[in-house]
Symmetry: C2
Subunit: 253 residues, 2 copies
């Protein structure tokens, strides 16, 4: 599914703790969002917020402190409010966060979108919520519903990414995963292992054939790579040499 | 899909900041997980951790500090390590977090599962990772990949819930959402609105019919509830009375 043409702004309404502002900024940066607005911060100590905004200099530098919510969402075509929904009878439906993407797609939402978070103590006010097109709830447990503000922002922004509502360019991770081992390589391991087991007197004559089949099957199930075979082959060889030595010295005595 | 029969433990390996331990505990409590283990905490100031663990008393009270990783995961049948995967060539595939659930289901994972997070500075060591059945990566942006520890835990635990790997009982939210308005109620609004527009001289005789159809269509698109109709009906009536008064006094003059 193609990402919606939405430009997100995260809005913190009356946050009290500058560490949470910084943590929110860091979460934005983590998921490639840039725009944050803070409505009437309780303690507008931006410097303190910055220390918590590790790696989020761009977000913090462009973050705006505004006096009212209208200043923060005036240009938005979609306003979403995050709430635990547990305290008040809100008189309206609350979307579970995992359903937000479908709701936005259903609406064919475009343009500027704002996602609001209330203060740590009281959340969004009824008036704040009256400006929201939809309310979302992170599906938390009933006995501990209220999340830390920075963590709630991180979870919501992760969900936007996960649902393809925000696109994060994936880093190019070069994984030198080894190729799967072929049958020849596995047979080599099998023969070596069988020899070891013979040397150590593992087999009972009666069950020998069945044990060998089981061993081969187990080897297949391991889905070994060429690399694994090299390591395992080395181990088996060394143990084999030791056992050979032991049996030789025993026969010399 | 039914939840996997997995018992999760979150393991913080050598965390340095007690606030992060507390924040992690809070995230666990938020999503109904109870078990946390902390390997060799840099500064085992549990009291400081507790202040950050709002509402997570049960989690903090049962959290165990253990000397080594083996002590924390010895009883686990599945061990998952969280990593940004950006610094080292890990030589193995890293699952994007949204794919973890499918991976666990594919494995038919059962029993005790552990999810590991490394220290804030260095993440999990290569040795820590060698004990993991799989590594997961939160899909963060390449230019700011490293998340705050408490936020990373929150996002991962949210994902476990979202994917049905952990089940959180949803709270019973009583929503007194009003019933959708029926056609009769909408027609009442429509008639009232039309009358108002007549009174205020809104219509041009030529476009009147087209405007009325547009108005009716717009009313339908609003998906009004009975409650909305009551509010809107009240507003229209009041404005109507005012306009009536005005036109009366005008005609009296």
């Amino acid at each position: 599914m193609k990402p919606l043409e939405l430009n997100w702004r995260i809005v913190l309404v009356r946050p009290r703790n500058p560490l949470n502002i910084g943590a929110a900024a860091r979460a934005l940066a983590n998921f490639g969002l840039l725009e944050m607005a803070v409505v009437a911060p309780f303690e507008p100590t931006w410097n303190e917020a910055r220390t918590a905004a590790v790696g989020a200099d761009t977000v913090m530098a462009s973050a705006r402190a505004v006096p009212t919510l209208v200043d923060a969402v005036g240009d938005a075509t979609v306003v979403i409010g995050a709430t635990t929904g547990s305290r008040r009878n809100l008189g309206r439906a609350i979307l579970p966060l995992p359903e937000l993407a479908a709701w936005l797609r259903g609406r064919k939402a475009r343009g500027r979108a704002a996602l609001l978070f209330g203060s740590e103590k009281t959340g969004l006010s009824n008036e704040d919520m009256s400006r929201c097109h939809a309310l979302v709830r992170i599906p938390t447990a009933p006995d501990c519903p209220s999340m830390n503000l920075g963590q709630a922002v991180a979870v919501c922004v992760y969900e936007l990414t996960r649902a393809g509502i925000v696109s994060v360019r994936a880093p190019e991770v070069t994984v030198h995963r080894s190729e799967p081992a072929n049958q020849q390589a596995l047979e080599h391991i099998f023969v070596n292992a069988t020899r070891l087991l013979e040397l150590s007197g593992y087999f009972h004559p009666k069950s020998r054939a069945a044990m060998l089949m089981k061993l081969r099957r187990t080897l297949l199930d391991l889905n070994l790579t060429c690399n694994d075979v090299r390591v395992l082959g080395g181990v088996l060889s060394h143990v084999g040499w030791k056992l050979d030595d032991a049996s030789k010295s025993k026969s010399t005595i």
